[in-house]
């Protein structure tokens, strides 16, 4: 069933704005509304086409009026953030995540026309740690969630969504758990992290990182919006990079920092307004996280076009990151030794 009127929250952000633009390009959808507290950047606004931007706050009960007056039948909740790229006020983000979701779901519950809800969640709900299985599948319970980070918000948000699913069994609810996004155009905590001149890593640990190209994230959210595939799905590129490997591929220099000193290092970067390391971000850099995407491929019918490695390489090329050591010179040396006459 193709939706008639779609409301996208978080339309001021990269994912929300691009998703609204993609949906607006679909002629079967009559109307696309983008909602956020701040309008998207100029260049984003230009790409949005016939999608309408509504300046509204999902934390305010007035959002119910927007949903009912526009006769919205599909809501895409893309306003939650589990890993804000830059330094931000913890309380403000938590409020947007948790209170915003509560108000939005309350408004959805009272809306009789609503048929579908798509929630952009995060793979951070599985936590990260020594006790977390190497590969997380959808029905695993969260483990080792830090109390100070945003992953806890995501777990709570999913709890509210489950409650909503129970109360409105007629609404089809699709939850997409996205792994960390990386690509040339997007600004995420990892794109900032790998662009640092010296990249702090946790001494003695090497996290396994699974990445998702933003194009795949948008395609998967679009598919979730336009088709009826309720359920919870993990979304991530195929394959894994270790953190040290990724740093080498980007040509950066990793600086191992003892785990006890990691919060201090994080505070330095935070105060320098470069990149925000929350507690669960440090945990992620410590242990990493990989999710099982079998259900996405088999039941949801979507295979990400970009593998983890390709997404990362696209980011490295797009950003123009230059390696410290030129691999071409080593390769030339290798060939010369192989060629020389004995």
């Amino acid at each position: 069933m193709t939706p008639k009127v779609v409301l996208v929250t978080g339309a001021g952000g990269y994912v929300g704005a691009h998703l609204a633009a993609r949906l607006a390009a679909n002629p079967d959808i009559e109307r696309v509304l983008g909602v956020d507290t701040a309008p998207p950047a100029k260049d984003l606004l230009k790409t949005m086409g016939r999608a309408e931007f509504v300046r509204a706050d999902i934390r305010n009960p007035l959002i119910a009026k927007v949903i009912s007056s526009a006769r919205v039948d599909t809501v895409v909740h893309a306003a939650t953030t589990a890993n804000p790229p830059g330094p931000a006020r913890r309380t403000a983000i938590k409020e947007m995540n948790v209170i915003g979701t509560m108000q939005l779901l309350a408004a959805c519950q009272r809306s009789p026309q609503l048929r579908k809800l798509v929630v952009k969640s995060t793979a951070a709900v599985y936590g990260a740690g020594a006790r977390v299985p190497a590969v997380c599948s959808e029905d695993m319970a969260p483990k080792d969630i830090s109390s100070g980070g945003y992953a806890k918000d995501a777990v709570e948000v999913e709890g509210y969504v489950r409650g909503f699913t129970r109360r409105r069994p007629d609404v089809r609810v699709t939850t997409m758990r996205l792994t960390n996004m990386i690509g040339p155009g997007i600004d995420t905590v990892l794109t900032r992290y790998f662009a640092l001149p010296v990249v702090p890593t946790v001494l003695g640990y090497d996290a396994r990182v699974q990445l998702l190209h933003p194009e795949d994230a948008l395609a998967v959210l679009e598919r979730a919006t336009t088709t009826d595939l309720p359920g919870v799905y993990n979304v991530g590129g195929d394959g894994v990079l270790t953190l040290s490997q990724a740093i080498r591929r980007a040509g950066r220099v990793g600086v191992p920092v003892p785990r006890v000193a990691m919060p201090t290092a994080a505070r330095v970067f935070r105060n320098a307004r470069v990149v925000d390391f929350s507690d669960d971000q440090i945990q992620f850099l410590n242990y990493g996280r990989v999710v099982d995407t079998t259900r996405l491929k088999q039941d949801f019918g979507f295979t990400p076009r970009w593998s983890t490695r390709q997404a990362f390489d696209d980011y490295v090329h797009g950003r123009g990151l230059r390696p410290v050591l030129d691999p071409g010179r080593l390769a030339a040396l290798e060939n010369r030794i192989r060629r020389t006459d004995g």
Partner: protein, 328 residues
């Protein structure tokens, strides 16, 4: 007669020049109408000498490592690093220090998943590392033993990262079944810390086998269980005491006292050179059971006991046969 058949069928022959000449006379093939083009003569590449070859290979390896051009599986297993950097020094210890004798390696399957269950001993789990080498070097093509470790392993800096890079993962049902379904050889030590940290007077007495989670994993995936008995590992660090308060302080399951540790300091970390025997027993099939039996505690405990008994009996038999602790 074969020639005539070929002429009739007008197959362009590839056999002998005589055949080809006859063929060309009767049926001019379209290839012949084109001007003959000789391949560009290539200067034969000079054979690099052994040293050069090695140097080039080393630089190639270094380049791949430095630019991150290598593959890591979803468990973090880095085959290139394991094969080239981690295994060679361990193999030295395997061959020269413990003089490991691997017995019954024909019981290791050439492909497909299998669960390798072994006794655990030695204060430090060197027995698992040596079993891993025994499996790798006695299978062709070489197979890696993917071991399941306690969460403590992955909490410890360096050790945790190394364990992941060499293919180990957390001992939990999800990871075990994932590896077995992928057709890997999975190693498990159901005694856990109870086995590896038992005192010297209890040597070669198998400890309790836990809840039999390993049997459930094998039943769900239908892979055989291969019981493994390691003799010799008990004597490498004879644990004669345990400083409990220190262990609690450091978060270790035990703090061992051996005749040389902590008395001789770091020197006490050198294991005694006992002679080892690693015996791979006959596979115990689980595919005759229903996968639903994995939730039946009776079947799980029966199988678990069967595996335990097999290992214990093999240990006693091997102990009776060995000429001496260090001899051989």
């Amino acid at each position: 007669m074969g020639e005539r058949v070929m002429q009739e069928a007008r197959v362009i022959p590839l056999r002998s020049p005589g055949q080809r000449r006859r063929m060309n006379r009767s049926v001019p093939s379209p290839v012949d109408s084109r001007p003959p083009v000789d391949p560009t003569p290539l200067r034969p590449a000079p054979e690099p000498t052994g040293v050069q070859q090695q140097l080039a290979n080393a630089i190639g390896f270094l380049r791949k490592r430095l630019t991150g051009d290598y593959a890591v599986d979803e468990f973090g297993f880095d085959e290139q690093l394991t094969e080239n950097v981690i295994l060679p020094p361990l193999r030295m210890i395997y061959e020269k220090w413990f003089r490991v004798e691997a017995i019954g390696t024909e019981n290791l399957p050439a492909d497909g998943g299998a669960l390798i269950v072994s006794n655990h001993s030695g204060t430090l789990p060197l027995d698992s590392v040596m079993t891993g080498i025994a499996v790798h070097d006695n299978t062709s093509p070489n197979r890696y033993l993917r071991m399941l470790g306690a969460d403590l392993v992955f909490q410890v800096p360096v050790l945790g990262a190394l364990a992941r890079k060499t293919g180990q993962t957390l001992a939990c049902g999800a990871d075990a079944e994932r590896l077995l379904t992928a057709g890997e050889l999975v190693g498990v030590w159901p005694e856990g810390f109870k086995g590896v940290g038992k005192s010297f007077k209890d040597r070669y007495k198998l400890q309790r086998f836990g809840r039999g989670g390993f049997v459930s994993a094998a039943l769900r995936t239908g892979v055989p269980i291969i019981p493994v008995s390691v003799v010799g590992a008990e004597e490498i660090y004879p644990k004669i005491g345990d400083i409990k308060p220190l262990a609690r302080l450091l978060g270790f399951p035990y703090f061992p006292v051996t005749p040389t540790f902590p008395l001789l300091g770091p020197l006490g970390a050198v294991p005694l050179p006992s002679k080892w025997y690693i015996e791979f027993g006959e596979p115990i099939r689980t595919d005759r059971h229903d996968p639903a039996d994995a939730d039946d505690p009776m079947i799980v405990f029966n199988l678990s006991d069967q595996v335990r008994e097999t290992i214990q009996q093999t240990l006693y038999r091997r102990l009776g046969q060995r000429p001496g602790i260090f001899r051989g």
